[in-house]
């Protein structure tokens, strides 16, 4: 579904990614692991079209999307839950969802999806008229995911969804990811939480210093020292 080959990204003078290969199969979850600064977020943003790619190819459903504008890539069916959630703090919960739904061709479709999100996330329904900036971290994370789902994507890019959340919240987020996977949504998951990631992922790639140091199925790598090593190296 998603295939990234030989991806190079420069971030000013920094050569952030060097020949990175990542693949996500339809309906599966690929976890992208690695220490802070390894280039995980950069890879995710490059796939979404928000960072310029210097070399390599990104294909989605067999179509080359390298160099396309972010909004056009998103419209092909990719949802983004970014690092730090980035909800629109001064907009209400409902407005956050409405903005995301505005690309649905039809207002009725957008409203129906909004209603579906409220049903799925009762916390958001409770807080629909509150400003997103006033929500707790966990609630904001739910909102960020709901917002990405408003466009009914076929692939979801998740960047550190558990970061900074209370343990109970972390479990809920991962339950949700499992639920989405069960519904057949493909995901590329960037995470620091290795055990939970290995639990949910089908495939794993470990980034270190801008390169993929290890890649394989979660089962293969679950026991491997390489993953632990990748984190230590940082």
């Amino acid at each position: 579904m998603l295939s990234v080959t030989g991806l190079d990204v420069h971030y000013g003078p920094v050569h952030a990614l060097k020949g990175v290969d990542i693949a996500v199969a339809p309906g599966s979850v690929t976890a992208l692991l690695g220490a802070n600064g390894a280039g995980k977020t950069t890879a995710l943003m490059a796939i979404a079209g928000a960072r310029p790619v210097t070399r390599g190819a990104i294909r989605f459903d067999g179509r080359d999307i390298t160099g396309m504008r972010a909004e056009d890539i998103i419209r092909l069916g990719i949802g983004v839950v970014p690092e730090g959630r980035r909800v629109f703090a001064s907009l209400t919960v409902e407005e956050n969802l409405a903005v995301a739904g505005s690309l649905a061709a039809d207002k009725a479709v957008s409203a129906a999806r909004r209603a579906a999100m409220m049903e799925r996330f009762p916390i958001l329904a409770e807080r629909r008229t509150q400003r997103a900036g006033l929500l707790s971290g966990g609630e904001q994370q739910m909102l960020a995911i709901a917002r990405a789902l408003m466009a009914a994507p076929r692939l979801l890019l998740l960047d550190e969804p558990s970061l900074g959340l209370a343990p109970l919240m972390v479990d809920r987020v991962f339950d949700l990811i499992a639920e989405l996977k069960a519904e057949g949504l493909a995901m590329l998951l960037v995470e620091q939480n290795v055990p939970l990631s290995l639990e949910i992922a089908d495939r794993v790639a470990v980034l270190a210093n801008g390169r993929v140091s290890v890649a394989g199925t979660a089962a293969e790598l679950g026991e491997s020292e390489a993953i632990r090593g990748a984190y230590m190296a940082a």
């Binding site: 909004e71 980035r86 907009l91 407005e95 995301a100």
Partner: protein, 295 residues
């Protein structure tokens, strides 16, 4: 007391125009980080739009429409021709680009239309006044205040109720995130410029109606004041821009009304000193903007 009320009406009328101009600047700044120095020329184009209509003898509603349309067109064209290519450039590059556009337009007005002011003749009824108790209120200032309030109300509804309006508020906070939701950046930016042009156009109509002429520098001076208003209100903050506009208008009118004439040459200095004093207490302006800065 009547005198104070009368001067308050004057302050509201002037402040409302500043508020509309400041709001246009703030809308564009909040989204594309551009301090549009050519905003004054958008207003001037609006003034010439009114002038052109009166030359052709069009009735007042059409003259108003012509002025507003000309300003919206100028704003959107400016974005399309000059600023779109500069998207994402640094604040300084954008500022200099807008300086250049402003200069080019001023020379074009001067050589293409006239260096001299062009008169705008409005029906006598509009130059009239009416009495409320002991206070005489001009028809045009009244229309000006009412229009400003309607425009501000309309804009608030637009920003709160429509998807485009919500997208603009979201863009002001985090433009990249908005694009990561699939919202088209070009449309949001074009809408922001159109809106700033609309407000400048309304301001231009009010301005020319009150002043009776349009010249190449018409927009320059009020927009200068509007810049001060946006900084005072908090750069990029919409409600701050409105508040700042009324504040600057009030300081200007009241300093003329209540300060001795010997201090009159220092009037602009007084306005600016007040602004500096406010900024010392509130460095981010009266109503600081919500902005997630990433980079």
């Amino acid at each position: 007391m009547d005198y104070v009320i009368q001067q308050t009406v004057n302050a509201l009328s002037l402040g409302g125009i500043y508020a509309m101009l400041a709001l246009g600047l703030a809308i564009v700044f909040s989204i594309v980080r551009l301090i549009n120095f050519a905003h004054g020329e958008i207003m001037t184009v609006g003034g010439y739009g009114v002038f052109a209509a009166t030359v052709f003898g069009l009735p007042i509603p059409l003259a108003v429409a012509s002025g507003v349309f000309a300003a919206v067109f100028a704003a959107v064209a400016m974005e399309r021709v000059a600023f779109r290519a500069m998207r994402g450039a640094s604040v300084v590059s954008l500022l200099i680009t807008s300086f250049a556009i402003s200069e080019i337009l001023k020379v074009l007005f001067q050589n293409g239309i006239s260096a001299r002011p062009k008169p705008i003749q409005l029906p006598a009824a509009l130059s009239g006044s009416y009495e409320v108790g002991a206070i005489t209120v001009g028809v045009i200032p009244t229309i000006s205040i009412v229009t400003t309030l309607l425009a501000l109300l309309g804009l608030t509804l637009f920003l709160r109720r429509t998807e485009t309006g919500m997208a603009m508020r979201a863009a002001a906070e985090d433009f990249e995130m908005l694009r990561l939701l699939g919202v088209r950046a070009d449309r949001v930016v074009a809408a922001a410029f159109a809106l700033s042009g609309l407000l400048a156009g309304i301001a231009a109509v009010m301005w020319t109606a009150q002043r009776g002429s349009v010249d190449p520098l018409m927009g320059f001076f009020p927009v200068l004041k509007a810049f001060i208003a946006t900084v005072l209100g908090g750069l990029g903050s919409l409600s701050g821009a409105i508040l700042g506009g009324f504040f600057v208008g009030a300081v200007e009118v009241f300093s003329q009304a209540f300060l001795p004439d010997s201090l009159s040459p220092y009037r602009d200095a007084i306005v600016l000193s007040t602004v500096i004093a406010v900024l010392l207490v509130r460095p981010d302006g009266l109503v600081p903007a919500v902005k997630v800065d990433r980079s």
